[in-house]
């Protein structure tokens, strides 16, 4: 499939070309096949390029948004890509001003997942209730500031006290700057870029590489 052409279209903000590539493939393959063979590898490669410093966060964000937008009409025609999937949640813990959560959310949706969006600025205490109510199995947590990253430890502790086994996947600047921090706060995995999310999901659920 046309991974390079698709990546080029996303990074060049060429909405028409990105939509055209998806439409042509969706005529010949199921949406799940298109997702696994094109969208997930493309978004993973874009994430890797950001992690290497080859592209900027703004390019990654806009590329993810264009991908999600291009997929929407196909989803409305063909329905959910993954009728069966783990119960996922996503949140920006304590912070209001970060881009990472938006990029991860875009990647997850483009890969066919439907995470429950717990918004931004959430406290660990409020989040525990939401996680319990929604029976979230895997929670993606985006952070910008060190206190937010350290708050994951409190969240883990509160979840444990409630005997909730929700797996925590963390990401954001503090975890990139200190590679040991995710272990210190009791997370189950850490993503260096949004492109890592599908691989991490596969690891946590024991499913195949593309879940």
């Amino acid at each position: 499939m046309e991974i390079e052409a698709f990546i080029h279209a996303l990074l060049a903000l060429d909405r028409l070309r990105a939509a055209s590539i998806l439409r042509e493939l969706a005529d010949r393959f199921t949406l799940l096949e298109v997702t696994e063979a094109l969208i997930i590898p493309a978004l993973s490669q874009i994430g890797e390029r950001w992690a290497r410093g080859d592209i900027s966060l703004a390019e990654q964000y806009m590329g993810g948004r264009i991908c999600e937008d291009a997929l929407k009409p196909l989803l409305s025609q063909q329905g959910a890509i993954r009728p069966s999937q783990p119960r996922l949640g996503i949140v920006a813990l304590q912070d209001y001003h970060l881009l990472g959560k938006k990029i991860v959310l875009s990647c997850l949706r483009s890969a066919g997942f439907a995470p429950r969006d717990f918004g931004q600025g959430a406290s660990a205490t409020a989040l525990v209730e939401q996680v319990a109510t929604e029976r979230i199995e895997i929670l993606f947590i985006s952070t910008l500031m060190l206190p937010s990253a350290l708050a994951v430890k409190s969240l883990r502790s509160m979840l444990d006290n409630r005997q909730l086994t929700t797996k925590l996947v963390v990401g954001g600047a503090p975890f990139i700057f200190d590679s040991q921090l995710w272990l210190e706060v009791g997370a189950d995995a850490m993503g260096k870029s949004a492109g890592d999310v599908v691989r991490i999901l596969a690891q946590l659920t024991g499913e195949s590489a593309n879940v």
């Binding site: 410093g53 703004a58 948004r65 001003h97 350290l150 700057f177 200190d178």
Partner: protein
């Protein structure tokens, strides 16, 4: 060897002029640690200029570093614009939900009056008190968030990136408003006693936007703004990558660039020498758990990479050392700079490779 110890101001001035002073200058960019010194909560500490002035003086005496840092917290500016500020016990006060709800609100946006905003008045009062205390002996660092980076707090990060790509007219309008505010805010701080303005501009970094976009956006904004600030400026990328735009940064008129811990300080020094001095690039997040041996190694390596020939101020990479960094680490940083940062640098500290993974 210098027979007489320089004052911090003399030391910094020589280094920024690409001369070797008596030793490598170092800035411990401490904001919240003053609260610990005074036995106050972070919220109480930032409630009065007197507390922050006293905190800064105590920290400078304790660690014998080369500046007084009048940065309260990044949200102090949007607080003046009407934004909520959220306090936590163990970190900097953070900006609440973005104050611009709709992009079109930019058309009716007007900046606050610097002389009437309580959050800004506290900063100015702090600078006045510090100036009265230290005169011209110690640099007093004032801070502004660049007009180009402030919209992250005004609009939210995602909507600002979309504005940059999709609404050039509204973007230009917002820059006109923000530039006016930034210049007034910077010059008010210089009048109050700040000797240098630190221009925080992380959105311009190549971590956040591509270099070609910087040339069209953050670069002309910085050129226009810095030209109107009536004092020396230092541009800080707050951990963002700057090597791809280093030549342009030098053309903005800034004297110093604060660089990321993910970049090779030695390579940056070579490419920027004679154009802009560098400041950085210790990893403040990791610093929480450094032991004495590692701290000394990291500091000596930074001195070896950045120190030769002047043009270097040792500091953290982000422009704000986390509250969780223990005093022992800060003491070791200070002792190491005082011992191994004396010019002429020791042979082992004149050059070297750090071997860490850097861009």
């Amino acid at each position: 060897m210098f027979e007489k110890e320089m004052t911090p101001s003399q030391r910094v001035h020589a280094a920024v002029s690409f001369q070797e002073p008596d030793r490598v200058p170092f800035f411990l960019l401490l904001t919240m640690h003053g609260a610990k010194e005074l036995g106050l909560s972070i919220r109480d500490y930032f409630s009065k200029a007197e507390y922050v002035a006293e905190g800064q003086l105590r920290l400078q005496a304790k660690y014998r570093h080369d500046c007084l840092y009048t940065f309260f917290y990044a949200a102090v500016e949007v607080e003046a614009w009407g934004s909520d500020v959220l306090y936590v016990e163990n970190g900097p006060p953070n900006a609440g939900a973005p104050l611009i709800r709709q992009k079109e609100d930019i058309l009716s946006l007007s900046p606050p009056n610097v002389d009437k905003a309580p959050s800004l008045i506290k900063v100015l009062r702090t600078q006045e008190m510090l100036k009265a205390k230290v005169g011209s002996q110690v640099p007093i660092i004032g801070v502004v968030i660049s007009p180009f980076s402030l919209p992250v707090m005004q609009l939210g990060f995602d909507r600002y990136i979309e504005l940059l790509y999709e609404n050039p007219d509204l973007f230009e309008r917002l820059m006109t408003i923000n530039e006016k505010f930034c210049v007034e805010w910077a010059n008010a701080q210089l009048r109050a006693g700040a000797t240098t303005i630190c221009y925080f501009d992380p959105v311009s970094s190549s971590t956040i936007i591509p270099p070609d976009m910087y040339l069209r956006t953050g670069f002309p904004v910085a050129q226009r703004t810095l030209a109107k600030i009536k004092g020396p400026t230092a541009t800080h990328m707050a951990s963002g990558i700057c090597r791809p735009i280093m030549d342009q940064l030098a053309l903005t008129g800034t004297k110093i660039v604060g660089v990321s811990g993910a970049e090779n300080l030695g390579a940056l020094k070579k490419s920027s020498s004679g154009k802009v001095a560098l400041m950085g690039n210790l990893n403040g997040i990791e610093m929480r758990r450094w032991d004495a041996k590692h701290t000394e190694e990291v500091v000596r390596n930074a001195i070896a990479q950045g120190g030769p020939g002047g043009g270097y101020i040792l500091s953290d990479a982000h422009g704000e050392i986390p509250f969780q960094v223990p005093d022992e680490v800060l003491v070791t940083i200070s002792e190491t700079v005082h011992k191994h940062g004396q010019y002429p640098l020791e042979a082992g500290d004149r050059s070297g490779s750090d071997g860490t993974e850097q861009r």
